[in-house]
């Protein structure tokens, strides 16, 4: 069985590669093919001596023909080199910036994901077991409202309520800047503060995580509500649920078994939702001044630093691929009907 699983994972892993390639190609096409000299776009209309311009272009690798640039970058990518920044500052390796920003996004994403799944399951189960009642309708309304909330607006409203009016929670950043005793190690501040035993820092980090995670998490939970509710209703009407009851299995256990059955398609949804999660993270980070990949991309846009943007996109593509692989494997492990 284990050998089959290994092969299953390998095949799925191989499928990620074409996906990353395709996305890289698309982004490369858009960023490079379009007219305009990126260096000039950054430096502006300032009169710049041609030798310096040539030098900068060479640094950025822009003096080579396009197809060479394409494969060059690809080759470097495989070695973890995502090129260098094109502007402000110039020439720094993109990967070093990403290493700084990525953990912030990961932390936010994990928390938001947890919130969305827990909320989604809770509301979905509630709607299913009270099927047809006002509670059920309320859950349906919840799911539509949550799903269509505009993240920045929702985040702002939460900021206003909890930050401005009630003064309960902070509204931006990852940690109270006055805590100078904190030093990031991995970039995952929660982990870092625990490792250092810095409890004040931990408290501040958690505080700062609440509003952004809630914002993103609530909005994403809407999709889960619907799926969980509909699946659970379907499963509850299936024969084996009645068969369990007919055998004298207690109701609580029956509900649990039904949930396990209903949960499996939800796992697949989690994989799809991840992409939405990342997109939502960009908006959340911008709203809460969260120093993650989202704000990184937006920053780099204003500097026309296309290299950085390209690198960030590739990192995103990689993560999306990896997550969908993990989801596939979890699904195969949960459902005995899947063969591997």
């Amino acid at each position: 069985m284990a050998r089959g699983l290994g092969r299953y994972i390998l095949i799925r892993a191989l499928m990620i590669i074409p996906m990353i390639l395709i996305l890289y190609t698309i982004v490369f096409f858009f960023l490079r093919i379009l007219p305009g000299n990126p260096i000039l776009a950054v430096v502006g209309t300032k009169n710049i001596p041609p030798e310096q311009l040539k030098h900068l272009e060479h640094l950025a690798g822009l003096d080579k023909p396009l197809y060479v640039q394409y494969f060059d970058y690809l080759w470097k990518m495989l070695h973890g080199d995502l090129g260098v920044t094109l502007a402000s500052p110039m020439g720094k390796p993109v990967s070093s910036y990403i290493a700084l920003r990525l953990p912030a996004t990961i932390e936010l994403t994990i928390f938001a994901f947890t919130v969305s799944v827990l909320l989604g399951i809770a509301t979905g189960v509630l709607g299913a077991i009270r099927k047809g009642t006002k509670t059920d309708t309320a859950m349906r309304v919840y799911s539509i409202v949550a799903y269509t909330l505009f993240i920045p607006w929702f985040g702002m409203m939460l900021q206003y309520l909890f930050g401005v009016k009630l003064h309960w929670l902070p509204t931006s950043g990852r940690i109270d800047p006055s805590i100078t005793s904190f030093h990031p190690i991995t970039g995952l501040y929660i982990l870092d503060s625990i490792i250092q035993g810095n409890w004040t820092a931990l408290g501040s980090v958690l505080e700062h995580l609440i509003l952004p995670s809630l914002t993103l998490g609530i909005v994403l939970s809407g999709a889960y509500t619907r799926l969980v509710r509909n699946n659970l209703v379907d499963v509850l009407s299936q024969d084996f649920v009645r068969a369990y009851k007919a055998r004298g299995v207690p109701d609580r256990k029956v509900l649990l078994y039904a949930l396990k059955n209903a949960f499996i398609p939800v796992v697949t949804l989690m994989g799809l939702q991840f992409a939405i999660l990342l997109g939502g993270a960009v908006l959340t980070e911008t709203t809460f001044n969260w120093p993650g990949m989202g704000t990184f991309i937006m920053d780099r846009i204003s500097y026309r630093d296309y290299n950085s943007i390209q690198g960030a996109v590739i990192v995103f593509a990689f993560f999306v691929g990896v997550i969908s692989l993990i989801v596939d494997v979890i699904y195969a492990l949960l459902d005995p009907r899947v063969e591997y």
């Binding site: 074409p18 996906m19 858009f30 379009l34 309708t137 505009f150 607006w153 206003y160 997109g279 908006l283």
Partner: protein, 282 residues
């Protein structure tokens, strides 16, 4: 025709979807009317700067004024044009590109199908907002460019649905019969498969319009859609954010609420139609 009949039936029956549909439809209708009649119903010039900055909502300015003294209410009314325009163009483009490609891919199969599917799946599984951001940045800020960026991201959605439907229809007898009679491929796709695929397209449309609205709002919030002083909900929301923390809530509140209401309106319509269609098959 069947679609219109369906709508009328929906309104008549006392099914649970009815409330949703009416509510959603009303919102959307109001916004559309707002957009059409903007020049007549907006009380002030939305781009006119004045000294009356940060006025809270009042009779003269029902939604207050912003940091430039512009009337928020008028900006809301005029802002509806941008968002509806962009989403309409984007959706049309997505359908015009995605549906024929889906038909082709599903019907012909083979290499074309494999390549197209792989490309479409890659785009589909990638965060749509991020991809749209990249495209929008490159093309430059203008409503039509935003529309193109958004349409790119939704092509795979239509492609996949249509391809799936085409695949299942392909195996049905009436298609085989047409082929046996010697009907050319293109004819078959147009006459036999397309009409059966359209209901699916409608469903996908209703489900993705709400999404497209939020994507457009996202792009304009990030400053990638229109240039000032064009009134735009997303952009105004962004401008209003810093002032929110100072207590001037109406700059950000109203644009944001409108975005949400419009998306919600479409989502409710989509829900109701979806329910109707699936109840019909049960």
């Amino acid at each position: 025709m069947m679609v219109i009949e369906g709508f009328v039936k929906l309104l008549r029956e006392r099914k649970p979807g009815r409330g949703l549909f009416i509510f959603g439809f009303s919102i959307v209708l109001i916004v559309i009317l707002m957009a059409i009649f903007a020049p007549w119903i907006a009380p002030h010039n939305p781009t006119e700067i004045s000294a009356d900055v940060f006025q809270p909502p009042s009779w003269k300015h029902p939604m207050g004024t912003n940091n430039l003294g512009q009337d928020v209410f008028s900006r809301i009314i005029w802002g509806s044009r941008v968002i509806l325009y962009v989403v309409a163009v984007a959706t049309t483009l997505s359908i015009v590109i995605g549906v024929p490609l889906g038909l082709l891919s599903g019907y012909r199969g083979g290499k074309i199908d494999r390549v197209l599917s792989m490309v479409m799946d890659s785009i589909y599984s990638f965060p749509s907002l991020i991809l749209a951001i990249v495209i929008a940045v490159v093309l430059g800020p203008s409503p039509i460019n935003t529309a193109v960026a958004i349409s790119f991201v939704y092509v795979p959605t239509y492609f996949r649905m249509v391809r799936g439907q085409t695949l299942s229809l392909k195996g049905q007898l009436f298609v085989e019969a047409a082929r046996a009679l010697g009907v050319k491929d293109w004819e078959t796709m147009k006459k036999y498969i397309l009409p059966n695929v359209l209901p699916t397209v409608l469903v996908v449309f209703t489900l993705s319009v709400a999404d497209a609205i939020l994507t457009e709002a996202g792009l304009s919030f990030l400053g990638l859609s229109v240039t000032p002083p064009t009134p735009d909900w997303g952009y105004d929301l962004r401008v209003g954010q810093p002032f929110l923390l100072d207590g001037y809530w109406w700059l950000a509140f109203f644009p944001g609420v409108m975005i949400m209401l419009l998306a919600m309106g479409f989502a409710m319509i989509g829900e109701a139609i979806n329910e109707r269609l699936s109840l019909g098959t049960r």
